[in-house]
Subunit: 388 residues, 2 copies
């Protein structure tokens, strides 16, 4: 659900990467969605780091969250100061070691970073889909990723790894394609949204849909619903942090003033931070994509889909090895939700390691530098790699 | 920060009440605000329950939160099905017993329920103030209440009682007018907003100010910024509940449909609830009042104002007896904030009782029926009454 803007001056150790595209266009290559509708052509933007070995058995899928993209690590040009969103984790000698593994990350279906989404051209009209884009699900995102793997000729992946909405995709992969997935690392995620998580998403959606520029989803030829999207993003940012991390990061510190303004300017640093995050997001993200992806996350319900309402029953289909990680201060997907998931796995006799990492930075913890997290992932992958 | 709509068919035991008004208009009766600006004339809407005794020593001030009003208990007309917002607490034989006490509740300065606020007529222009209304503080609200007491000829109050923003007024009263206040009951409140609480308020304000109908605060002759205010209210409602209470109240239950709509209608009951709360609020509340009152709450900082940054030092001025109450699931003003306040009181040798009440309903708990809460308040008031 979040993104990490990365240390600004950090040189990415993975070096230069390139965005690539794969399009499946003609029937029967059209996608049949979980809603029953079809979608095509579908283009998938993806990037890779490391080298696929001859046996094609060192591939890892990294799955991104709400506002992420295929650019997980490295830089596009030598002059780039901003590496990919998970550059702290993906690279030579890092948690996901690109000296050993061939790491793939694709932009999710419904997004706006190269993969087909509501801002893409609808071949039926020659104009952007807007709200004619069909409602998609986490399952649909995973199906698109599966088609990319087929295209790359990869029949097995050593691991699928992702946090937040990326973690939902990880869980979907593990149950839907147990024959492909050797291991899975769901981070800071859940098998289904709580009422609280749905509530936050719904209010964010209402903020977008209340913006007159949103125009029922058909705004691509005019002004964008930037004010609504900014408010939506601000709501999101509150959920990515925590009471404690906001206290440490901002407290009640004032902006560059000595006292209150007695007007409605941003007095406090936290206000200014949120306004800045909102404005920045509008420049790079599509409001409709925000609506579609949050709806997919709200719909996600592993137990409902695969276990007639039971998470335990759902994991009966899985055979992969799991490493489940939660963070103490994550109040969007609190640890009790990870524990419920782990219990579902264990009751099916699955090989699962679970770790709750002490972190004060809330849900965003999985995106921030954390030696323990890197070591856990690195060690787990090494184990899986040695076994296979 | 919240309100309780009350049991719909409940007959209010306090009987019929009437809204009354007191206006202080001419200099020197103009208010000098904490910002340094002046405001006048100022009208205060208030209601009373019970009878002021001859000694005028049985008065209690009830102080309301963000969206409340003077109508704390009873009904306006016999046919009214909806009693005041704290009718569960204020009435004959209830927690605040109107057979014994004379209970006063006035609408806070800056609100829109009879007391002067941004929607009132600016005598300088003959039009509603809009954003010409000065930024007010919790201290200004309390000063207006003080003027009402003077008007009623009441020199001492047995207790000041309020939750949330009402609790901030309670704390302000106890330090500003120790010679008037014999006891004080701050409920579900804080001596200052955390960065998290400021963040929620700021995003809500941004939702209002992003609505084109808001028109920089001057909208009274045209369309109201209803969509923005509705989103602001939805954000508020999330903070008044808790993960647990939302799970119990809504879980993932769907609206009157058997499955997902695969569109952007309200699929989940929690979505429908929030939309309903937003719409309902717009009918009765003014968007500018929301901005001004939340800003006052964000500015409130007892330690900064009265103790050069120290809460302990601030309570040095108080001499009242305190009953401090927090609720386990209140994540807007968590118990640790009440504990810090209690520590500040204790270090000054003040007589303070503290109770954390087990409740799953979040911040709103102070507005909901709770026998323990009623008994605590009742017993505390009886003790204070007997001592004085």
């Amino acid at each position: 659900m979040s993104e990490y803007s990365g240390p600004d001056e950090n040189e990415a150790s993975v070096g230069q990467v390139q965005k690539q595209f794969f399009t499946f266009a003609e029937p029967p290559h059209e996608m049949v969605l979980e809603s029953g509708l079809t979608l095509g052509p579908v283009t998938i933007a993806y990037e890779t780091c490391g080298t696929l070995n001859q046996g094609k058995n060192n591939a890892i899928l990294v799955l991104h969250a709400l506002s992420g993209d295929s650019h997980m690590a490295g830089v596009y040009r030598e002059a780039d100061s901003k590496p990919g969103w998970w550059d702290i984790m993906v690279g030579p000698g890092k948690g996901i070691d690109t000296d050993k593994y061939f790491v793939i990350c694709s932009n999710i279906l419904g997004s706006c970073m190269g993969t087909t989404g509501p801002s893409s051209i609808n071949p039926g009209t020659g104009k952007p889909y807007g709200f004619d884009f069909p409602v998609i699900t986490i399952g649909d995102m995973v199906l698109a990723q599966r088609k990319l793997l087929d295209h790359l000729g990869i029949k097995k992946v050593l691991s699928v790894i992702g946090g937040s909405i990326g973690g939902m995709q990880v869980l979907e992969w593990s149950i839907r394609y147990p024959e492909i997935v050797l291991s899975a690392i769901p981070l800071a995620t859940t098998t289904r949204h709580s009422a609280l998580a749905i509530a936050f998403n719904e209010v964010a959606r209402q903020a977008i849909m209340s913006d007159p520029n949103w125009n029922s989803g058909y705004y691509y030829s005019g002004e964008k619903p930037g004010l609504g999207l900014a408010v939506a993003r601000m709501i999101g940012h509150i959920t990515y942090l925590s009471d404690e991390s906001m206290r440490l990061k901002f407290g009640r510190r004032l902006q560059d003033k000595r006292d209150f303004s007695f007007n409605f300017e941003a007095d406090f640093q936290v206000e200014s931070y949120l306004r800045h995050q909102g404005t920045k997001f509008v420049e790079r993200f599509d409001a409709n994509s925000f609506l579609y992806i949050t709806k997919a996350a709200d719909y996600f319900d592993l137990g409902k889909k695969y276990g007639s309402g039971s998470v335990v029953k759902a994991f009966d289909r899985a055979s992969t090895k799991f490493l489940v990680i939660s963070f103490t201060s994550d109040w969007l997907y609190p640890t009790y939700q990870s524990k419920a998931m782990v219990q579902g796995m264990k009751k099916n006799g699955l090989n699962v390691s679970f770790c709750e990492i002490e972190a004060e930075c809330g849900h965003d913890a999985f995106l921030l530098p954390n030696e323990r997290l890197s070591n856990l992932i690195n060690g787990f992958l090494e184990g899986v790699s040695n076994e296979n």
